[in-house]
């Protein structure tokens, strides 16, 4: 009996080879390629700015650049961007291409929300909710990077590192929500590079729409996105509870 016959008693050589070839076949993405051409000529571009894997997630405390302070989605800049990338926006992106990524069972069941130190600091409810939500997002979801903007356009959390990308994402989300072009849940997705996409989630509160942008390798499942939105609502309700 030769060694191959010995091996085949314990495993399926064809299956193993297929798995191995699959791992070798996929070209590694050593850097994020530019796909700016799909955004149209009005888009200034973010090639070279993106450092998704190099910057730690951090809260932004300085005065943020606010490209669209309470901008009407019908204003020219927002419309031009929206029109320019119309082909790239899919209100329901969860059924195409690679299988979407689900959250772990533990996340789905518990959707845990940490108590952050600012919880009893007397802050208004929305900032507290966004802080709690961001902490949960960082720890419990398989995202590569994220940003969160509050309704005034202030960037609360940013490890995306591309102001222009955040600008586009926020414009899209606002346009989708206000113009009624998005799915009922307001979920959007933009491909930003090969094997990189950004899921854009408008997060509704009485103060207005906050925006979360999640950079992922593959689309999150609709269930996962719903869990994330639910987590924000839970954070919001807890932070609004008197005495907490």
């Amino acid at each position: 009996m030769n060694e191959n016959e010995v091996v085949s008693q314990w495993l399926d050589p064809d299956e193993v080879r297929s798995l191995a070839e699959g791992l070798l076949a996929q070209n590694p993405v050593s850097q994020i390629p530019s796909h700016e051409s799909v955004f149209g000529k009005d888009f200034e571009g973010f090639d070279g700015e993106s450092n998704l894997s190099t910057q730690p997630l951090q809260s932004v405390t300085s005065e943020p650049a606010n490209p669209f302070p309470q901008a009407s989605p019908k204003s020219k800049p927002a419309r031009s961007v929206v029109d320019g990338i119309k082909q790239s926006v899919r209100p329901d992106p969860f059924r195409e291409g690679q299988p979407p990524v689900a959250l772990t069972a533990a996340v789905k069941q518990a959707a845990p929300l940490e108590v952050v130190s600012s919880r009893s600091s007397g802050l208004p409810s929305l900032p507290r909710a966004l802080g709690t939500f961001s902490n949960w997002l960082k720890k419990q979801t398989p995202i590569l990077a994220a940003f969160v903007c509050d309704p005034k356009g202030e960037i609360v959390v940013d490890d995306v590192g591309s102001e222009k990308l955040i600008k586009v994402a926020r414009s899209l989300a606002l346009a989708s929500v206000t113009m009624g072009e998005g799915a009922p849940s307001g979920l959007l997705q933009v491909e930003i590079a090969k094997d990189r996409m950004i899921e854009i989630l408008p997060l509704e509160s009485k103060e207005g729409h906050s925006i979360a942008g999640l950079v992922v390798a593959r689309p999150l499942t609709s269930e996962a996105l719903a869990t994330i939105c639910r987590s924000f609502k839970t954070a919001l309700s807890r932070s609004s509870t008197p005495g907490e």
Binding site: E3, N4, V6, V7, W10, L11, D12, P13, E15, V16, R17, L19, A20, E21, G22, L23, L24, Q26, P28, V29, S30, Q31, S53, T54, Q55, P56, L57, Q98, V101, T104, A105, A106, K138, K139, Q140, P142, D159, D195, A217, R218
Partner: protein, 258 residues
């Protein structure tokens, strides 16, 4: 900077020996190299420094959001070779999810060492591709998988490939640099047959040409707290890891700057 993870589903395959000696080979080539022990057993620290018990390290960094990597780096006598011990933290997670929740902190770790102008960072990981190890793979450029040249090692290959396939979904830029046969014992027919079986099973480009033989010298080096290549009797072994380094450098894309 190139970040490499040395990982395997199975324990006891020689990950730490490989990590230490490969890092030493890179450092000897003039690359500023950092070896990071992400195995909570702390084998790198226990192998190379008698003070490892008292050192803060990788797991302390995960637990302490204000800690800087610079506080953790332990220099060695070779100026281009530094290490970070596993530390005393307890952030090791046994969850089976594809990611443990530490990926952002680990990304911050990598960001800091990149800023320190390291050329190569090698993560020695715990066995099993889950929890913190999965997070490490989530931020690495490449992964190399030591596989012991024994029947049990070959039989565990499917699980290893399945786990790597899952990791590629999380980190599409993760380059599978290859499987390396370890603990090869040429005088034992079962060991040689296992090596041949593995080479027959996997595509040629997935199995490194270099093989790491079973050698008592590793035990002796560990006893003295040294990479094998530092020992007087270690020239032959040093040459093996130098050969491995050169083979790896041909595979790593983008190449490590000289």
């Amino acid at each position: 900077m190139t970040t490499l993870a040395i990982t395997s589903q199975k324990g006891g395959v020689g990950k730490t020996t490989l990590s230490i000696n490969l890092a030493y080979a890179f450092a000897r080539s003039g690359r500023k190299t950092l070896l990071v022990d992400t195995d909570p057993q702390g084998s790198v620290g226990l192998s190379l420094t008698r003070q490892s018990r008292h050192l803060s390290g990788f797991y302390d960094f995960l637990e302490n959001p204000v800690m800087n990597v610079g506080e953790l780096i332990v220099p060695t006598r070779l100026p281009t070779f530094s290490l970070v011990a596993a530390g005393r933290g307890s952030a090791y997670e046994f969850g089976s999810g594809p990611i443990s929740g530490n990926i952002h902190r680990i990304r911050g770790f990598v960001s800091q060492i990149r800023a320190m102008k390291y050329d190569v960072c090698i993560f020695d990981t715990a066995a099993g591709l889950f929890g913190v190890t999965a997070d490490v793979l989530g931020v690495s450029n490449g992964v190399m998988v030591p596989q012991q040249s024994e029947p049990l090692g070959v039989r565990s290959v499917p699980k290893m490939l399945e786990a790597l396939t899952r990791m590629r979904a999380v980190n599409p830029s993760l380059q599978v640099l290859g499987v390396i046969l370890t603990m090869v014992k040429k005088e034992l027919s079962e060991s040689l047959e296992s090596a041949q079986a593995l080479r027959g099973l996997l595509p040629d480009e997935m199995v490194m040409q270099t093989e790491i033989p079973r050698n008592d010298l590793y035990v002796q080096a560990s006893a003295r707290g040294l990479p094998v290549g530092v020992m007087a009797e270690g020239a032959k072994t040093l040459a093996i890891f130098e050969e491995l380094r050169l083979e790896l450098e041909q595979r790593i894309n983008p190449p490590i700057p000289s």
